[in-house]
Point group: C2
Chain length 210, copies 2
DNA sequence: AATTTAATGTAATTTAACTTACAAATTGAA
DNA sequence: TTCAATTTGTAAGTTAAATTACATTAAATT
């Protein structure tokens, strides 16, 4: 039970509260099935204020998607790449990538954005570029650098990066999207990540001459 | 321009026509945005007949999903696996799998089913099992057989199968789901498939002793 | 303290689509 | 040819949710 001390908030605070409430509801029920009365009931404030801030339902949706959707991939960014040999770097990255995917909010978000893609195609493109594509590109750039340094031997770093990420992510997205939570133990995850790195390096690590 | 010779069809014929029309509309606009008047306008017949046959909108949706969704994976089935060494078999399978994914109707279908998963969770599970999961399982079983024959050396065939399928499919599903058609040439496809098989066998093919 | 400004609560309006009702038209059988 | 059954066309009923209107109340300013 929440204590219901009524507060009058200013626009900015109320806006944040509404975004938060909308996020939960959209994640739980999807775009069409969420109605604005519920949002207001959850966030506090009033329908009037909601319409003042966001214009309409679509406005609320767009603001929400762009706000949250572009923050998510922060842990994948370049500056978090560890130093060390490719095996270490890739293993670290893989762990961060899978952790991200396993977050139900992330997968749920991608799901809904995909779902509403027909209605808001520009949003799904933006999110795809900021999200899944971002990870691929970071890996590809890293691989390209390693190729220059002579550590790895990769004809097509972009393709290799995609393969690597796919192996790491597995069916997680599809699972969560279908409402099937993956029931993996830590050991399962470790095995998957190790295998992905292993398969990758088996092909691309520079071997001593045969 | 269609010639509009009005035809009175019996229930079965009309049902097929309605399923066909609904399929197109649902694929194009999603579940919520498709209205039944449009379906009838496209299929011919009448709303009355539609309700007699399917009960309501949900009934139409369920029938459609189950009818088409479970037919799709036919080309992946076991009996189409070629004979020959693993390299050949896997390459063939990979080609069929990717071809399937590249079919816009298939990807579009998965997209919508995912989209409506919150409303009809049983459907998305059924389709996941009949679709994506099916392919994984067929590969896993094949791999297990090869392990028994001593051709390959794979500790965890299920995991290996998933990795393989993921490499083959790549981001295609996500792309199409986000409305980004992949613009691959035949050469791109060939490169991807070859690489997937190569990476897989680099790890699992039984090597002559070092 | 009075006044202005901004946020709130509620209810009316509008819209859109699902669903149902019913009369007209067509087919098939007696 | 006539009659029964089935399909069709149209429109009315129902519901649900987005949007708007307006009076009320709390906060901020003078």
């Amino acid at each position: 039970m929440k204590s219901k001390v009524k507060q009058r908030l200013n626009v900015d605070q109320r806006k944040q509260a509404m975004l938060m409430a909308a996020r939960e509801l959209f994640l739980a029920k999807g775009y069409a099935a969420t109605n604005l009365d519920e949002v207001v009931a959850k966030s506090g404030g009033s329908l009037t204020t909601l319409y003042q801030i966001f214009g309409n339902k679509e406005g609320l949706w767009r603001e929400l998607v762009l706000t949250y959707g572009t923050r998510v991939t922060a842990p994948l960014e370049d500056e978090h790449l560890s130093d060390g040999p490719p095996r270490t770097v890739l293993r670290d990255f893989a762990e961060r990538l899978l952790t991200l995917q396993l977050n139900p909010d992330v997968a749920g978000g991608i799901r809904i954005i995909m779902a509403e893609g027909k209605q808001f195609p520009d949003l799904s493109r933006t999110i795809y570029a900021a999200g899944p594509m971002r990870g691929r590109r970071i890996v590809a750039q890293y691989l390209a650098r390693e190729v220059e340094h002579g550590t790895l031997d990769i004809p097509d770093p972009a393709l290799a990066a995609e393969m690597f990420c796919q192996m790491v992510e597995g069916d997680v997205l599809l699972w969560l999207a279908c409402g099937i939570g993956p029931s993996w133990t830590q050991a399962d995850i470790k095995r998957r990540l190790d295998l992905a790195v292993e398969m990758f390096l088996n092909t691309y690590e520079r071997k001593a001459a045969v």
